[in-house]
């Protein structure tokens, strides 16, 4: 199921030895990650390993103490957070962060904030409603009153509205029904096939490793292992630690 073969070797995102702190707490130690154009790369690790922190640092939500993040060879160090989107990087954050006081439609419009053509926005929105029919049913509802899973769909859809080149996903399957978990992984693969590079953080490590070309294993803010999805999936110690007893 891997599409590693499809990936060109050109690195789209390069994380070069970054350190991230929360006050005095050293949450990420010299993290280096490379995501090549067209790849799906996954970060796995237990609770508190630093996955969310890593994504936050990449999309410039969190300050980096040292090290650098390159997008397409260009350092993001001096790019203000809101301009990262314009460079083609979208981030579906932990806890979804949807706009509670805006309707589903408005939330999606916000996702396409950088787009000016209304026709373009409309067509993208139709596309999203197709991918997430549940959202279509809830168009006029305020984001804040959606069910947990509906919010999760909205968060993903909103990021996709940006038509990013690279998408950072923080636990996109969280709170989704089993049927929809499968669906969301299908969606991830689909958009990846359409050329979107993906950096995926998932607790559902089984499925994440199944669709990923490569994976990194994070522990206490450090990378302790990396390799192809298939290799990691079959690694016994990883199975024991992250994939459950069997």
């Amino acid at each position: 199921m891997t599409n590693a073969s499809k990936a060109t070797a050109r690195p789209l995102l390069e994380v070069q030895g970054i350190d991230v702190f929360y006050g005095a707490i050293h949450a990420i130690h010299g993290l280096s990650v490379i995501v090549n154009e067209g790849e799906i790369v996954t970060l796995i690790g237990s609770n508190g390993a630093g996955k969310t922190t890593a994504l936050g640092a990449i999309s410039r939500l969190l300050p980096i103490r040292s090290g650098d993040v390159l997008l397409d060879g260009r350092s993001l160090g001096s790019v203000p957070p809101h301009d990262v989107v314009r460079l083609g990087l979208a981030h579906v954050p932990e806890r979804r962060r949807i706009f509670a006081d805006l309707t589903v439609t408005e939330n999606l419009e916000m996702g396409a904030f950088t787009v000016r053509s209304t026709a373009d926005i409309a067509s993208r929105m139709d596309e999203m409603f197709e991918l997430f029919p549940r959202l279509a049913e809830r168009r006029k509802q305020f984001g804040g009153t959606l069910s947990g899973g509906e919010q999760q769909m909205l968060a993903v859809a909103r990021a996709l509205m940006q038509r990013p080149r690279i998408l950072l996903l923080d636990e996109p399957s969280m709170g989704l029904s089993p049927l929809f978990v499968e669906r969301i992984f299908d969606i991830i693969e689909t958009i990846n096939k359409r050329g979107v590079t993906i950096l995926l953080v998932e607790q559902n490590a089984h499925m994440a490793l199944a669709i990923a070309s490569r994976g990194y294993v994070l522990k206490n803010g450090m990378i302790v292992d990396q390799g192809s999805g298939a290799r990691l999936r079959s690694d016994e110690s990883i199975q024991a630690a992250y994939l459950g007893a069997h």
């Binding site: 957070p81 809101h82 989107v85 962060r97 006081d101 408005e106 916000m110 904030f113 940006q162």
Partner: protein, 321 residues
């Protein structure tokens, strides 16, 4: 009270109440927009309003007085400059006193203190500058055009200025409503208001939007200041306080953060104040005088909030458990 008396008093009272309410509404918008975006009560807004009023009066008195421009043109010119100055000041306040606090993750109330600091500073700074040129209590120059009576009822009239205020304030409010509901800017403002971090993830420059919010609110305050001076005839460095307080009250009454709410709240408050000020002494045969109008106004406010805890037009929070 005779029915006849009430009939005679009602039209001018409503007219004056409406004008007062529109002024409150225009100021209240500045509070509500900043509140909506930052959750911050910008207590310095009343002084920003005051500066606008002072600037307009100065211009009309010393610069435009001799010109051959039509009084309305003079007023509009003064208003534009006042709006610009007030907007600049509001922007400056945001840049100097609020933004640094946001960055350092200060508690929600911290900007309240810098706001008070700005208020005190502006009051005395304006007093200083004004007293360099004479007294700091500034009367609105006499412009007979604005006093031309317009018939309201067969035996009652309102001055021209009431019409002018109605039109200008009404237009400002309508324009703002359009901007916030229909434009990209408006959408960005609403996004920033709900979740700053998420807005930034959408590619919205949060600081820029916040700044724009202050600029718009400041400009409205400048306009309101000009109209206020026109209506009541006097400004001084301390005349921002009361209207500011009232406008803030109006914003809450309407539902803080809600733009139509600020408008409705302002108008309701203006009407309540005027009606109570006029009719309560009559109804109680002077036992309760006009001085009680604030008690009634706040009493009504409290009642409304008890039954409608998020103000007249404020939506209940959409947070889902």
């Amino acid at each position: 009270m005779s029915f006849q008396l009430a009939l005679e008093l009602l039209p001018p009272t409503l007219a004056d109440g409406l004008i007062l309410g529109l002024l409150y509404a225009t100021i209240a918008l500045g509070y509500t927009m900043v509140y909506g975006v930052l959750g911050l009560i910008n207590f310095a807004h009343s002084e920003i309003f005051m500066v606008g009023a002072v600037v307009a009066v100065e211009l009309l008195t010393y610069v435009l007085a001799g010109s051959s421009l039509h009084p309305v043109a003079q007023l509009v010119l003064a208003m534009i400059v006042a709006a610009a100055v007030s907007a600049a000041l509001a922007g400056l306040a945001e840049r100097i006193a609020y933004r640094p606090l946001r960055r350092s993750n200060a508690p929600k109330l911290a900007p309240l203190i810098t706001a008070i600091g700005i208020s005190l500073f502006l009051q005395d700074a304006v007093r200083f500058v004004e007293s360099l040129f004479g007294q700091f209590i500034r009367p609105f120059p006499s412009m007979p055009f604005f006093d031309i009576p317009l018939p309201l009822t067969p035996n009652d009239s309102v001055p021209m200025k009431s019409l002018v205020i109605l039109i200008v304030a009404g237009a400002m409010l309508a324009g703002l409503r359009y901007t916030v509901n229909q434009t990209r800017l408006g959408k960005a403002i609403r996004a920033v208001a709900t979740d700053r971090m998420a807005a930034s993830l959408m590619g919205i420059d949060v600081n820029r939007i916040v700044m724009l919010t202050f600029l718009i609110g400041g400009a409205l305050a400048g306009v309101a200041g000009t109209l206020y001076a026109l209506q009541f005839g006097r400004v001084d460095p301390f005349s921002g306080f009361i209207p500011g307080l009232k406008a803030f009250t109006a914003a809450v009454l309407g539902g803080i953060g809600s733009i139509p709410g600020a408008m409705v709240g302002g108008i309701v408050l203006g009407l309540i104040e005027m009606l109570i000020g006029t009719f309560v002494p009559i109804l109680t045969n002077n036992a309760i005088g006009t001085e009680y109008k604030d008690i009634f106004a706040f009493g009504i406010l409290i009642l409304i909030l008890i039954f409608k805890p998020t103000g007249l037009l404020g939506r209940p929070s959409t947070e889902k458990v």
